[in-house]
């Protein structure tokens, strides 16, 4: 078992949804649910759910092999600006590396991050794909 079930379980809301920490003191919003603002350290924060939609700002095609990602390679890792104006890095799926474009509209969908094959847990979480339909 390479990953911890309790670490994953405790944070699963942050993997299953794109959650943002909005700070009431400095006014900034940041990716991932935290109990303090990573910009100013204030605990006066609220957790809000992002639409999960945004645009690709930049991306890289990764061949960097680890024993937990090798099935999925090559990976496209993108820097995405969410519609809420917050930046997040994450996997971009369902697109050929050569077809990724900066500015491409993306949405967050549930996929497998990895799994402790073949007997361990499957770690699910959101990744990005090109928007299927603008609704």
């Amino acid at each position: 078992m390479r990953s911890s079930i309790s670490i994953f379980w405790r944070r699963k809301d942050s993997y299953y949804k794109v959650l943002l920490t909005r700070c009431k003191r400095c006014g900034r919003a940041s990716f991932f649910a935290r109990d303090v603002c990573p910009y100013c350290g204030s605990s006066d924060v609220s957790i809000v759910k992002s639409s999960g939609r945004g645009r690709v700002v930049s991306y890289t095609v990764s061949y960097f092999r680890t024993d937990s990602n090798e099935e999925y390679l090559p990976l496209v890792i993108a820097l995405v600006r969410l519609d809420e104006g917050v930046y997040v890095t994450g996997e971009l799926r369902d697109v050929e590396p050569a077809e990724v474009r900066e500015g491409m509209e993306v949405e967050a969908v549930l996929r497998r991050y990895s799994s402790d094959d073949p007997y361990g847990l499957i770690y699910y979480g959101l990744k990005f794909i090109p928007v299927i339909k603008r609704c």
Binding site: Y63, I77, Y87
Partner: protein, 375 residues
């Protein structure tokens, strides 16, 4: 505050040391550095290693090492700050002496990065990023180097080809360094056509994986005076952390490094042109940004100045000397010591200052060590 001097240093060549474990690597440099220091006793040992738990299956590396090496019972501690662990060990040793807790401190940086296949070591080393936020979501360190490189190229209109000058230069430098891991020349086309790690980063934009160990003995002036080692003063070791990449307003800047260098300038009035430097070029794009943050080159133009840099990464840098993670910061200080005191491969620096920069991830933390010649 008490002055701190480098009493001696030792390194072994960085390589795939399949026939030697961490105990043998550390043992070799400890023996050598103790012999070189001519100090009566050691008050403290600070050990740095990044992958001990993962790669060595070992906790409390410092205690196990004192036991194995038959060192006289003494306080021993292991530090981990990711890729900058080596310089963090120097930072702790420096603090122990300035605080009066010790007069002589043995610093040992050791890493065995070749105990597992590369894809396993790659997973281990990826954990310098935030496991819960980044690693579990399949983001690895070279992905960030790639995103930063693309942003840098776009922002400053620099071509991929223009950014090959750094690794080429580092391989040239490493030819003179007996401890370097990669001792062969490369060309720009070799960099461009090497296997892709995380496009546009290729194999030759990245450090090689290797084992290494380096050791230093730091001494207070009381001890250093006795043994005639009042030569190179550890003026200061400073460090800072910064925000993760996705929370940065400008990913082509290394904020914590910028803070540290301006702190040193202010405090010691030192100028970068008076210094020989070892910088943390884990990926070649990071070298360009570091040169700019340190004020060695103009923003967006550092690649134009690489050719003329004589006193930056004389060792060949992480790129070609190698990056045995937890040992790297100790190597850097040893190298600056050597180039200022003895000369390395025909290069000797006679100026006043030496500066080493070590960091983890893309400036997730940065550390600077300022050395100053006394005689």
């Amino acid at each position: 505050m008490r002055d701190v001097y480098i009493a001696s240093s030792s390194m072994i060549n960085i390589s795939r040391h399949f026939n030697r474990g961490y105990k043998e690597l550390a043992g070799a440099v400890v023996k050598d550095v103790v012999e070189g220091a001519s100090v009566e006793q050691l008050d403290y040992m600070v050990v740095s290693s990044m992958l001990a738990e993962s790669s060595l299956n070992q906790l409390d590396l410092a205690t196990i090492l004192t036991q194995h090496l038959g060192l006289k019972p003494m306080p021993a501690i292991r530090v981990d700050t990711g890729e900058s662990s080596g310089l963090a060990a120097v930072e702790i040793a420096y603090s122990l002496i300035t605080a009066g807790r010790a007069d002589t401190v043995l610093v040992v940086g050791v890493e065995k990065a070749t105990e597992f296949p590369t894809r396993v070591t790659n997973r281990f080393l990826s954990k310098v990023l935030d496991y819960e936020v980044e690693v579990l979501r399949n983001i690895t360190p070279p992905n960030y180097a790639a995103l930063i490189m693309k942003e840098y190229m776009k922002k400053y209109r620099v071509s991929r080809e223009e950014l090959t000058v750094w690794p080429v230069k580092m391989h040239d430098n490493a030819l003179r360094n007996p401890y370097a891991q990669l001792k062969f020349k490369i060309t720009p086309s070799k960099v461009l056509n090497a296997i892709k790690i995380s496009e546009p980063i290729t194999l030759y934009d990245m450090f090689p994986i290797g084992d290494g160990a380096a050791a230093l003995i730091l001494a207070s002036s009381r001890v250093a005076r006795k043994s005639g080692k009042e030569v190179l003063l550890v003026r200061d070791v400073v460090s800072a952390t910064s925000r993760p990449l996705y929370l940065r307003d400008d990913i082509t800047r290394f904020e914590s490094l910028a803070t540290l260098i301006s702190m040193l300038r202010r405090k010691y009035g030192f100028r970068i042109d008076d210094a020989v430097c070892e910088i943390h070029d884990s990926y070649s794009i990071y070298a360009y940004i570091i040169l700019e943050e340190l004020g060695i080159a103009r923003r967006g133009a550092s690649y134009k100045e690489v050719e003329n840099l004589v006193y930056v990464n004389v060792s060949g840098g992480l790129k070609a000397r190698g990056h045995p993670f937890g040992a790297t910061g100790v190597y850097q200080v040893s190298e600056v010591y050597n180039v200022m005191v003895k000369g390395v491969g025909g290069v000797k620096f006679d100026g006043a200052f030496g500066l080493t920069h070590s960091m983890s991830g893309p400036d997730y933390n940065s550390r600077l060590c300022l050395l100053e010649r006394v005689v």
